[in-house]
């Protein structure tokens, strides 16, 4: 009940903002308005709703094993949530793989709760098991807010994943010849009115990696990095990147490592 009310309030604020910006065309003003809006709701990012739901899901027994996720190891030891998102993606010995937050959570759900990751992979964003995943992600990333991004490439598999990510970043394909670099390879560029961070440099990478997952004002939804990347590939006219697949982890590794030293500002607030 309270959740519904708060959601309604959030939608109201968003609607106000949209009306506010609809008459404003210049990029600077639009950016200013987002900044103003950020200030207005500094203590009430709608992501908090997802975060609260995520904390419940983290602590609630679920799956065939009727277990909670509280013993999930996100890299800092079982159950350590604080600061965990700031050091992901990373290598995990038990899976012998480099994993991002979402692929790691799928492993935890499988091992601890006995759930089939394929259900998560196949579900649509914002629906079913993915909706729960998004809430849990909101909870985890909020526990790293304000921390420094510190992603390691010390392990050979981490270094390899970074190099694969760099290649994927420059990989051109599809009927429009786009790569990630087409939009995110230079400073000071924008598409329409949208500023584009230059992910090849620390500053731009920190802007990109440090602010996602984020609450999207335009769609009134909380988006995880997996969804952000999915939509980038859609706009690139690529085929559909499989949820948690290596290309998404490799690109995350490339962004996160480049962003090292920046601050975790997640959950961010985006247009």
């Amino acid at each position: 009940m309270q959740r519904k009310l708060t959601l309604g309030l959030a939608t109201g604020i968003v609607a106000t903002l949209l009306t506010m910006t609809s008459s404003v065309f210049a990029q600077k003003s639009a950016t200013d308005d987002i900044a103003k809006y950020r200030e207005m709701i500094a203590d009430g990012n709608p992501s908090e709703l997802y975060e609260a739901a995520g904390e419940d899901l983290w602590k609630k027994p679920a799956g065939p094993k009727n277990a909670t996720l509280e013993k999930c190891n996100l890299g800092l030891g079982p159950g350590v949530v604080k600061g965990a998102a700031a050091q992901l993606p990373r290598y995990f010995k038990d899976t012998n793989k480099v994993q991002d937050l979402e692929s790691r959570l799928m492993t935890c759900m499988q091992i601890l709760q006995g759930r089939d990751p394929q259900e998560m992979i196949d579900a649509q964003f914002q629906q079913g098991p993915k909706k729960d995943m998004e809430a849990i992600v909101a909870y985890i990333v909020t526990q790293s807010k304000g921390e420094k991004i510190k992603v390691s490439t010390a392990h050979p598999k981490e270094k390899e994943m970074y190099d694969l990510g760099k290649r994927a970043f420059y990989f051109e394909g599809g009927p429009m010849d786009f790569s990630c670099a087409s939009c995110h390879g230079e400073n000071g560029k924008r598409i329409r009115l949208q500023d584009l961070p230059n992910i090849t440099e620390q500053k731009g990478a920190a802007l990109a990696w440090g602010y996602w997952p984020a609450y999207r004002v335009s769609s009134g939804q909380f988006w995880t990095m997996q969804q952000r990347l999915n939509d980038c590939f859609r706009q690139q006219r690529f085929p559909f990147p499989i949820y948690g697949s290596d290309v998404t982890i490799a690109l995350s590794m490339y962004m996160a490592k480049n962003a090292n030293g920046g601050t975790v500002e997640t959950p961010g607030l985006k247009r």
Binding site: R167, P175, K189, I191, F238, P239
Partner: protein
Amino acid sequence: MKITHIKPLLTLCGFIIAAACIQSSAVAQQKIDPKFTKMMQDSFRAEGIAGLNRIDQDETQKFCSDPKFANSKQGEAMRDKIQKMNMETIKQPSDGKYIGDWKNGEKIAQSGRGETWTDKADTLIGGGCYNCHQIDPKEISFGTIGPSLAGYAKLRGYSKEVVTYTWNRINNAKAYNACSNMPRIAHFKLLNEQQIQDVMALLLDPESPVNK
């Protein structure tokens, strides 16, 4: 007997050396990495109109996916080759008409739709021009990945050279700049001939707001 064999043998040696030379200049280009190839193949699935073949690269895409090599001194010959190859695909208008209707051209330039997995096969593909270019100065929502085209013909004139160059560049920008960020509009049939004529009018018609 022996002497007659030496000549073809020498020629063969020459070929091998030449092949080795070509090989060594290509070595600078990104090596095929089976791990990367496998990652790409395993990481995507077909969805709607976006088939898996979209990650099969043609020669231009392969070359431009290695910007370090593509922008290097060694990459220069390959860059020229790619540009020539793309230039050869360009067809001049079948009806001899370069200039269509700028009003239609503006609509095409505004639309950034088409070709994504959420689009249908019959979704009208837009030019997406404003995504990257300033065009009509009255439109404030424009991107900056490409250069400003405001006042296009007013600044460059309306000569045959300008018209042909513009036609070619819209049809296939990679004929001039191998790794231009601009999609190959005609090569991938993103717009048809009539639509390209309309976009031409937006840039070149003296009546177009672009040239006011």
